[in-house]
């Protein structure tokens, strides 16, 4: 049996795919940002002296890390309207992905904060800095330097996760690929090009992030 390849018919629609790719990246970036803010608060709760705060952080991380992302997406998209919370498709997806990313960020930030030797914080105390000043001027910058590689890797991972947005018909790369597939029936071509686009985008992101990391390491 012979398969007649026809990539041209797919390439004619490449703009649709590239638009989807960009949307996926933006969804990942927005979720990472919100997830980082959430993760920072939860990480502080996780290392705080108050058992209640620590409990909340542990509960959040356990819950979110053990729920499949697709289920979270469905809860946000189909469930929230029942609570009279009406979000657009993209907003509800970002809501789910941020919560999911936040749990991971909590762990990353907690480890990054705990890796700072206590002596360095005591040196801050010794020159009269208040706890808040120590947090802003010492803990936060050292932590970000510690976790920068994990942040970069996780952005790439979230970007791949945005393909799940196709399940609630958000026009990102996977969804648009499916649409072209339905129109053209060029199954192999569509999905091979889609996979290639994901690979190239991830590779480029990794490349750029590594340069940024090196920049920070030298400083």
């Amino acid at each position: 049996m012979r398969y007649f390849w026809n990539f041209n018919i797919v390439f004619a629609q490449i703009n649709l795919l590239l638009d989807g790719l960009l949307l996926g990246f933006l969804l990942a970036l927005a979720s990472l940002m919100i997830g980082m803010a959430l993760g920072l608060f939860m990480a502080l709760a996780a290392i705080s002296k108050h058992p209640l705060l620590r409990g909340i952080a542990r509960f959040y991380v356990t819950l979110l890390r053990n729920t499949p992302l697709l289920v979270l997406i469905f809860i946000a998209y189909f469930g929230l309207p029942d609570l009279h919370i009406r979000l657009g498709k993209s907003e509800s997806f970002i809501f789910a992905l941020s919560l999911y990313a936040g749990a991971y960020m909590t762990e990353v930030f907690r480890a990054g904060l705990e890796a700072i030797p206590t002596g360095i914080l005591e040196a801050g105390q010794a020159i009269g800095l208040t706890p808040l000043q120590i947090f802003w001027n010492i803990q936060l910058p050292i932590m970000f330097k510690n976790v920068l590689p994990s942040l970069g890797n996780y952005l790439i991972s979230l970007f791949k996760d945005t393909s799940l947005a196709a399940s609630i018909t958000i026009p990102e790369l996977t969804y648009n690929a499916k649409k072209i597939n339905t129109l053209t029936f060029r199954v192999f071509e569509v999905w091979l090009i889609t996979a290639a686009l994901y690979v190239i985008a991830c590779y480029l992101m990794a490349f750029i992030l590594r340069r940024i990391e090196r920049r920070f390491a030298i400083q």
């Binding site: 801050g124 105390q125 009269g128 800095l129 001027n137």
Partner: protein, 255 residues
Amino acid sequence: MEDSLLRIRRLGKWFGSLKVFEGVDLDVNAGEVVSIIGASGSGKTTLLRCINLLETFQAGSILLDGNPVGYHEENSKRKRFPERIIARQRLLTGMVFQQFNLFPHMTALGNVSLGLRKVKKLPRAEAEKEASRWLERVGLGDRTHSRPSQLSGGQQQRVAIARAIAMNPKILLFDEPTSALDPELVGEVLNVIKQLAADGATMLIVTHEMRFAYEVSDKVVFMDNGKIASMGTPTEIFEERKSDRLKEFLSTFNN
């Protein structure tokens, strides 16, 4: 004496049920250099940390410049000052740590100027000018833009000294400032401390460098067995060696 800068009375410190020391009395007058010697685990570091309020203490009092720090009496109950006040009280003391503890993400200049900017509220330019003045004083005028990772141990410790003294504390506390250094780097740090002593700084120095303690100190304190076991002039401590425990301790050093 009424005018002692640091006055410690009946100080007691426990870690849970482990007693570190009890009934410690110590006075340091303005301009004096006092060294603390003693075996490992005798509580020297813990004593400095109590003075700098990095450690809680369960009994006794510490007065700096006549005022109690760390704890005060309220309705005849002992209460720890709130953290904001403790942070302010810490400014009376400067601490130099055994492991330097420089801020790794900042240059030498950043390390020394941070406190001047954030605590003393100096504008950045002024803080940096002041900081480079102190870095010059410790012989690092040419390394102001180096990061700690680009400096030798001796240089890092000198930055740490500049960082402490830039805050203009009443008394400088040193916890074995040369113990983490390669032997060939010890001298440069001790010389800086000697220079500060000559300039009239008040200092309390925990050290295992007996010759240095002998040369630089006005008073030497020997800690042993959870208390101050002997106290005296360097001659009294190192030459007269009045107690057996002191003799035994000093005999482990070859000088």
